[in-house]
């Protein structure tokens, strides 16, 4: 046996035995917020949502353009322009339908150049079409060259003719796709790619600014989503709370109704509603969504209430004489808030999606209002020529849904009582 210093065999007082650390205990909500903050993806989502909301509210105030002004001259311009310096300090860009727009070096649009008839050698139809027949190779080439002259357009700029030869688009053997001739100068390489200052997201087929339309679209889409979710919340929570609290026959009947509504794909019901009610503004789609999706919330709330009402704090409250309404409002629902909040957070992107979906099949908000879905729908036809028109509204939808989903996932983890450690 080891020898121990005798002085150690001294009894300790109560105070000396104390050395436990006490970690402060947090409330449910503090603990949940702490856990949510730690979840990086959720925080990204939350920040994203805030930015999108700002985008929708403040955005339209910053632009000078309206969502419905049409400028025919500047239709179908992409957000990034390839400008060619055809003469010292004179820049042009080519549109998808081969018009020329004059711009500044930095991408500010000046004007559309007037197109004129091409003056020069003309090839007959016959010769053009039969160009590959029994001619010698050099003869063929000569004919080809001449035929290509039709891939030429001429415009007026500052009183001079500017010619654009775009044979290179069709004939891959040619070195350059676009060749400009102006005032003796031949330009065949782009000077640079600039950002379209007038239309940062490009313009649509009626010359409207896509960015402005996306901003207003945000207002529409988000309004529909938030208000519809609110309607869902009110109807769903009320319905579910009553069903869960009353129990018995009332619950049975109420849930039967829910089951019947649920037995059909909800989107079908929304379609039917929209078809029948017709388009009478924003409220049509808001109500259509709100009147159908509440069933999910109702089921959830009912389940929560059913399990909560067995707990003793309810018994205590009843014994104290708290009215039924107050038990539901002040005791049961606040305790069920966790799953309710999660459900709401996930309902918003659903609503955004549903609204976009409806617009895509032609049942969404009516013109001239445009939601993201309407914008995407309109841009579908031009997907191969002007893909940016579809890209921005689609990206807006996708980003919004992503942000809410990240936040929702994080909330689900944060509010799960099983993971509590505080």
């Amino acid at each position: 046996m080891r020898d121990i210093d005798k002085s150690k065999f001294v009894f300790l007082s109560e105070k000396e035995k104390e050395f436990e650390e006490f970690r402060p205990s947090l409330t449910y909500w503090q603990d949940a917020w702490r856990r949510l903050k730690k979840n990086k993806m959720s925080m990204v989502g939350l920040v994203g949502i805030i930015l999108i909301i700002l985008f929708a509210i403040i955005g339209p105030l910053t632009t000078s353009m309206s969502y419905s002004d049409q400028v025919n001259d500047f239709k179908n311009l992409p957000p990034f322009l390839r400008v060619y310096e055809v003469a010292p300090d004179k820049f042009v860009t080519i549109t998808s339908d081969y018009s020329l727009i004059r711009t500044t070096k930095n991408g500010r649009l000046i004007e559309r150049l007037e197109e004129i008839e091409v003056s020069g050698p003309v090839i007959t139809d016959e010769e053009r079409t039969d160009v590959t027949k029994i001619l010698s190779p050099s003869e063929q080439k000569k004919r080809n060259d001449e035929a290509k002259k039709n891939l030429v357009k001429q415009y007026m700029m500052d009183g001079e003719i500017i010619e654009l030869n775009f044979s290179g688009v069709v004939d891959s053997e040619l070195e350059h796709k676009y060749v400009f001739t102006y005032n003796g100068q031949v330009t065949n390489e782009k000077t640079k790619t600039v950002w379209n200052k007038k239309y940062p997201f490009g313009s649509d087929n009626l010359g409207r600014d896509v960015l402005t339309r996306v901003m207003y679209g945000a207002r529409i889409s988000l309004t529909v989503a938030f208000v519809a979710s609110l309607v869902n919340f009110i109807i769903g929570v009320t319905y579910g709370a009553i069903a869960g609290f009353e129990g018995g026959r009332v619950d049975n009947v109420m849930m039967r109704i829910v089951d019947i509504i649920n037995s059909v794909p909800l989107v079908l019901i929304i379609i039917m509603l929209m078809v029948l009610i017709g388009n009478q503004g924003l409220w049509t789609i808001i109500l259509a969504i709100g009147m159908v999706y509440w069933v999910g919330m109702a089921r959830l709330v009912r389940g929560q209430i059913l399990s909560l009402k067995e707990q003793e704090f309810v018994l205590a409250a009843t014994t104290l004489g708290v009215s039924r309404k107050n038990i539901i409002l002040r005791h049961l629902i606040p305790n069920a808030m966790g799953p309710i909040i999660i459900s709401m957070t996930m309902m918003i992107p659903s609503a955004v999606f549903t609204e976009a979906f409806m617009s895509f099949i032609g049942l969404g908000v009516s013109a001239p209002m445009a939601s993201w879905g309407t914008l995407a729908n309109n841009a579908l036809a031009a997907i191969l020529t002007s893909p940016y028109q579809l890209f921005f509204p689609a990206a807006a939808i996708a980003i919004t849904m992503l942000a809410f989903n990240f936040l929702g996932d994080g909330l689900r983890d944060a509010l799960d009582p099983r993971l509590r450690k505080g």
């Binding site: 046996m1 121990i4 150690k8 065999f9 300790l12 000396e16 035995k17 050395f19």
Partner: protein, 338 residues
Amino acid sequence: MGKILEVNNLKTSFFTHLGEVQAVRGSSFSMNEGDILGIVGESGSGKSVTAMSIIGLVEEPGKIKEGSVIFDNRDLTNLSESELSELRGNEIAMIFQDPMTSLNPVFTIKNLMIEVIQRHTDMNKKEALKHAIYMLDLVGIPEAGTRINSYPHQFSGGMRQRVMIATALSCNPKLLIADEPTTALDVTIQAQILELLLRLKDETNTSIILITHDLGVIAEVCTDIIVMYGGMMMEKGTVDEIFYKPNHPYTNGLHSSVPHIVSGKRERLIPIEGSPPDLMKPPAGCPFSPRCPHAMQICKEEAAPMFRLSDTHTSACWLLHKDAPEVEGYIKGGNQDD
């Protein structure tokens, strides 16, 4: 009656992202064939983790940090997972606390039992079925032949526990570890299960490690007892020694906090003040010292080694040191290795 199990300085921790939780902090004991060893302690004392460590079922993020577990002349801590799975259910078996959730709900009892039997023996399906029915009979399931086709949810809790025991013993293990097998059951069923375990042990001579927090259960069934607290062993001895000659403040505390039915007497229940230690930051010295009525300076600094009181009786308390002050009820001990 040879030694069947030897545990040396076992240390098992859970490496969570919040820190290392030291569940078992240096346990050493051995067990002989035919013993019924009871491990008793509060929640968090490390008794379950000790059992899981022996059979190699410590789950992520837990790991056996140090120490060895010698069974059948092999160190189980060095075996691979597949070697361990050969042993489990075969030579070492384990049953668990909650029978309601411990049986796979989508398979019949027949399915579950035959799978285990065929895993460890050469029996064909018919033979395995016969043996399974025999085992169910042995544990007291009525009409075993028909009931074996049932699903777990068609049995009561006590029945399910019997099924678990039947499955665990079906391949004749040398050692059965029972982790709180009766805690989730009614007292009457509890008695039946304990009686069953004793009977089975007599018939098959299986050694048993019984883990529980219930001193009454220990007293009824065990031959030897280990008292654990805060991840460490406090006292070890035969059932007589632990109950009649306890030599550790914690063991004494346990005895005082349990009601004794003695006719005529009226005693106060004396609970042990305080709460168990935080295993993420375990105290440097004896884990029980904050709650010990006889705690000394040395107790705060260093955990006591095991002092020997008899061939079978050891206790880890500084009061047993030759130089410690005399306290009534505590006998001095010798070196553990004497």
